[in-house]
Amino acid sequence: MEYIAIAFGAIFVNNVVLNQFYGLCPFLGVSTKKSSALSMGMAVTFVITLSTMISYLIYHNVLLKYTMTLNTEFGEITYNLSFLSTIVFILVIASFVQLVEMFIKKFSAPLYSALGVYLPLITTNCAVLGVAIDTTVNSERIGVEGFWQVTIYALGISLGYAVVIFIFSAIREEMMAYPIKKNWQGIPIALITAFIMAMVFYGFGGMV
């Protein structure tokens, strides 16, 4: 039950795009066609879930494990390696994305043609690094603990991303048929659409 609550909260209530503002560049950039939005959503789900699991394990088994106690003028202070987390996580994510790309290229041509172009873009998608940091360094902010809760949270967040980017692309595809004033075309009207979607998603707030 608690896992369901975490997943539901991550998908709808604390939606990654509409509520936390992660991953906006691909959200506005790739969402003009339904098919590419779906591929992007799938690629992001895959990468966020696995890279969050990896960075959780690294954070708890490497960065927090090796400590050093120094005698300073303020007394004994114990340091660990957690100050390196930003650097370590971005490297882990970048190399993981690279690995996934090579793997997919080798073993599944249709999957590569569907996701291939989007994989390099994901390294700079701040949702990936954002969720990795939120579930480790800032874990008290989102209130999940333990490996499985974190995994479910990451899966929920990334599914939320996929759901929202797909709905958004469907709306934008529909919007092509209507005349829009020139200065509102493109990004501005997309932002207003996102505003209305965010208002709709507030409705889920009362359910958890």
């Binding site: 936390q20 503002f21 100050f83 390196l84 930003t86 650097i87 690094l129 020139k182 501005p188 932002l191």
Partner: protein
């Protein structure tokens, strides 16, 4: 070189107006929307971006002739991540409230496309002085952009400016300081910036 090289002044003003990262290029949109709840956190974010972008442009343009082309992006990312870590530790030590109000977005400066974009598009091809000027102009343009959004959101949403309350509570539009309001304010501002730019283009075509 066929095309005339831009003067230092043009390099600086490009970031402020013509290629403003917030309103024209739409770079680094996540912090643009996330930290503009209050003017204070927008200015803090801007200061952080100024530091990281100027330093990363400087370092990257200093090493631009030694870096092999194939591995340049990972090297840039490591440099930027180190700078962000320095900034993070500094902010947590000296301005802890600001650091906690920026939250994860402080670390997310690493993946702000503005910084990697300038490294790739400008600093890797230009000398250190021009790169620093470009970085400063771009970062200042970014700061200006997010500060304008933050002024609208804080003034009309929370009725205050830098913490001083100005508008009484019954006239405030509470939705603007919530997550959804960021999209609304940013969308309206972009459309108005577009209108001004289009008017200007039309006028210059007529003349």
């Amino acid at each position: 070189m066929a095309r005339r090289q831009k003067s230092i002044k043009e390099v600086f003003s490009a970031g402020l107006f013509k290629q403003n990262p917030t309103f024209v290029q739409f770079l680094g949109m996540c912090p643009t929307l996330a930290v503009t709840k209050s003017v204070e956190s927008a200015l803090g974010m801007g200061a952080g971006v100024i530091f990281v972008l100027v330093m990363s442009n400087l370092i990257i343009s200093l090493i631009r002739n030694f870096v092999p082309k194939e591995v340049r992006i990972p090297i840039y990312i490591v440099i930027i991540a180190s700078l962000v870590t320095i900034l993070e530790m500094f902010m947590k030590a000296y301005t802890p409230e600001l650091a906690s109000s920026l939250g994860t977005f402080l670390s997310l400066i690493v993946v702000n496309c503005l910084i990697l974009g300038r490294a790739e598009a400008f600093a890797s091809k230009n000398n250190p002085i021009r790169s620093v000027v470009d970085g400063f102009g771009m970062a200042l343009g970014f700061t200006g952009g997010i500060t304008i959004i933050a002024i609208f959101r804080e003034l009309f949403g929370a009725g205050s400016l830098l913490g001083y309350s100005i508008i009484p509570e019954q006239y405030q539009v509470g939705i603007l300081v919530q997550a959804a309001g960021a999209f609304l304010v940013f969308g309206i501002l972009v459309s108005q910036v577009n209108r001004i730019r289009m008017n200007k283009e039309e006028r210059s075509e007529v003349a």
